[in-house]
Symmetry: C3
Subunit: 339 residues, 3 copies
């Protein structure tokens, strides 16, 4: 694709040789004359100047930093993401119903679906148009999957789970296992039936080996546009608001509600029954132990305002020295008294 | 089911309209006239008063807080759990041996088992009566599974693993993978053969994508009535005592022994070779770095008595201010000396 | 096998009855007269003296601590690992191509491979000689697996993933899922295509339910001899150097580079874009937030030199008391001023 064509496709301006032929994308360090790269972090200014890339996406203010052809964008990383999708379209998977898949006669399949080897689809399941059900996936009774959703191999959707349109779910993800509901009878745990469902909106991505439990009574709900990374635990009755992104290894305890447009770093833990408002950022490995009612950045164990956390953790690294100084003061005071 | 019938079935008293017809359970906020709810947390007193539930399980002391019919119980959540199980019996799965399952001729299957599509059962495996082996499960050579145990789809039990009766194992759980045993030969890791098994008692529940490694020499042992949530790592040689409950994302290092009737919060980590006595509670995201010999509540990194932790972490949030006050004192002392 | 034979096989000296017949290995506490045990930790000196083991591997300096026959080694645990492998050879699995596996006609299989039931191998995949592809494994288009590698059941290798020779991958591991790459378009997340691969060297072990994402542009690379435990998250573009060992539940954020011969404890988290030099040890549940340029032991949240962390965390446990002492000093100073 020529640079001018790509610019037109993406609706952005270009500068330099519009005939430049681009066959793919690469990093500034590795891109060659037929590849597009991007510049979004000032740290890589040196790499930009020396890059052999055929073209680079950058902000208009940075135009002077690269001698070659450019795509101009106020959000270079976003434009690069779209350019990469245009230059590397996902291989289209032909529709198929593999003879080694097991599809219950009472399941309803849309048009042009692809059901790979070893997939199992139970009674009452509904699969939308152009859905891919990867090898070894399991769709329990009454599951529904919206149009154009793609299930990678070995995804498990247990009975009653609903997944919207245009979602992408990675291998090993488990939606709809029982929540961890237990009552105690003089020392012996008694299971509390888990009667809710998992309901996932449209345009959601769910990472490998992530688990989302069904609700105890009400549903567990994942809003439209939510992005979940790998190995995340979402407990029963959790609700995650639209367009929130959560990095790997996060654990969210039961009935906690996370707002819209939040960004949660890796390894964060949430206590149960909290309410987190919209536009909250929690930095990695924090423990959120209380509800959050104001947008902002939060850190720490337990989480507090990130600036306060940084000051306190800075002091923590001096703590032994502070304790020694305190002891010295106490001694000098005692000496003063003793004098 | 009528309220009076349900009360009789559960062995508790009722008050109000015994003819009240109940078809299911719901939260106080959502329950309608044919639904049962429960009241176990004073926070929800307002919801209780305004609830449209046909009946509510509550403690006798709270009888006056709800105008409608009630089930009376000293442990309302437990009674509710049993009522929910009575009103929403798990769908009975017909016994079956799916033609797309692969069962070795030397495996022994009990009566009325259900083997779903894609399940693989190797030589020498023994499956008890009324066991469900979900779609895509793997039972290695010599595995044994006790009566009435239910394996959800895609559970992996590697060679030699033993699971007791009436267990429930959720998708993606892996029992019997090799422990992480390595010797070092001048910088190169050499595998230590992992020769023990995983032995799981009766009435155990194991969450989605939880991993329990086989022992190096002795077995890894999960006691009767233990409940494990999702994404938990149980390393080789760990022993978990009866009726202990462990929340999601916990990691237990090799050879650590956890007592009976313990409750471990989400995200907790245990160092290896510890001994934790019975009736220990560890709050979420703590790191247990030493053996615990007294029942009680423990918190922190590393874990200590929870009350001390709370006091210390409270001070941590003032740490920058404390350091400034210390500096001020030092200065005033210095001034005093200089005077 | 006789003790003298075993000693010859392992290239170590023995002392005592060379005719002693050994059929297996066990712990000091459980070993009987036909079993070999080992002594590598002075804590178990009492068990050594009283052990019924037929022979024990120990260091020459400890010879006097055990009356029976011994194998002498400067690295008893390493010698024990090799003895255990000799006495308990892994059962050899016959080559096989199970009729319920699905192998694309364009896949290339080496000699003596074993393809178990339910495995799926896509077009263009290459499987080396003597490889085991366990039940329910998925090998996507263009995957390559080196000679003698063993995939346990239910391993997922997505399109383009390369695994070297003599590797062992445990159930539920997912290699090659998309990295978590997102650009933001006025609040809505836009997927950044993930175009790199996962490239795994030789002699690598990967634990159950561990996830290794494909690179965004460059590959995610796992070096020769690396050992990864269970439930580890390796994000896109991470590189792990040769012979590094990583315990369970670790999360490594995108583009972080970990050196060779490192040892990472359980539950550790790494921020993205870091460089960790060779021979770094990070203790369990630390958060590594900055690059590390000097070999050594690091601990804490965020990680610092382990000795400093121990001193500071020791003071943390006195923090409430320190704060009270500070207050007392302030009061006495104030009194002094007021006087």
């Amino acid at each position: 694709m020529q640079l001018r064509e790509l610019a037109a496709l993406l609706g952005v301006a270009y500068d330099g040789d519009g005939d430049c032929e681009l066959s793919g994308v690469a990093t500034l360090a590795k891109a060659g004359p037929q590849q597009l790269s991007f510049f979004a972090n000032r740290r890589y200014r040196g790499q930009l100047a020396g890059s052999d890339a055929g073209a680079v996406v950058l902000a208009p203010a940075d135009r002077a930093l690269f001698a070659g052809a450019v795509l101009l964008s106020d959000n270079p990383y976003l434009t690069f993401a779209r350019a990469a999708a245009a230059l590397h379209p996902a291989p289209s998977l032909p529709s198929q119903r593999h003879p080694q898949a097991s599809v219950h006669p009472d399941a309803r399949l849309g048009a042009d679906v692809r059901i790979e080897a070893g997939a199992v689809i139970e009674a009452g399941a509904q699969v939308g148009d152009r859905v891919v059900v990867g090898a070894g996936c399991y769709l329990g009774a009454g599951v529904s999957v919206g149009d154009d959703t793609r299930l990678s191999p070995r995804v498990t959707l247990l009975a009653g789970t609903r997944v919207g349109a245009r979602c992408l779910i990675h291998p090993g993800a488990v939606l709809g296992a029982d929540g961890f509901g237990l009552a105690n009878d003089r020392g012996v745990w008694v299971k509390v039936p888990q009667l809710g469902r998992v309901v996932v909106g449209d345009d959601v991505e769910i990472g490998a080996n992530t688990t989302i439990d069904r609700g105890a009574l009400d549903d567990t709900v994942i809003g439209n546009g939510v992005k979940l990374d790998n190995l995340i635990q979402v407990a029963h009755g959790v609700r995650i608001g639209e367009h929130t992104a959560i990095a790997a290894c996060v654990g969210i305890s039961g009935s906690t509600v996370i707002g819209r447009h939040c960004v949660i770093g890796g390894g964060v833990g949430f206590v149960g029954h909290l309410e987190i408002c919209d536009r909250v950022i929690v930095t990695g490995m924090s423990m959120v132990a209380q509800s959050i009612t104001r947008p902002g950045v939060y850190s720490g164990i337990p989480a507090e305002d990130a600036r306060r956390w940084r000051r306190n953790i800075g002091r923590f690294h001096q703590l032994d020295e502070l304790a020694r100084r305190l002891l010295r003061l106490e001694r000098s005071n005692k000496d003063a008294v003793d004098e």
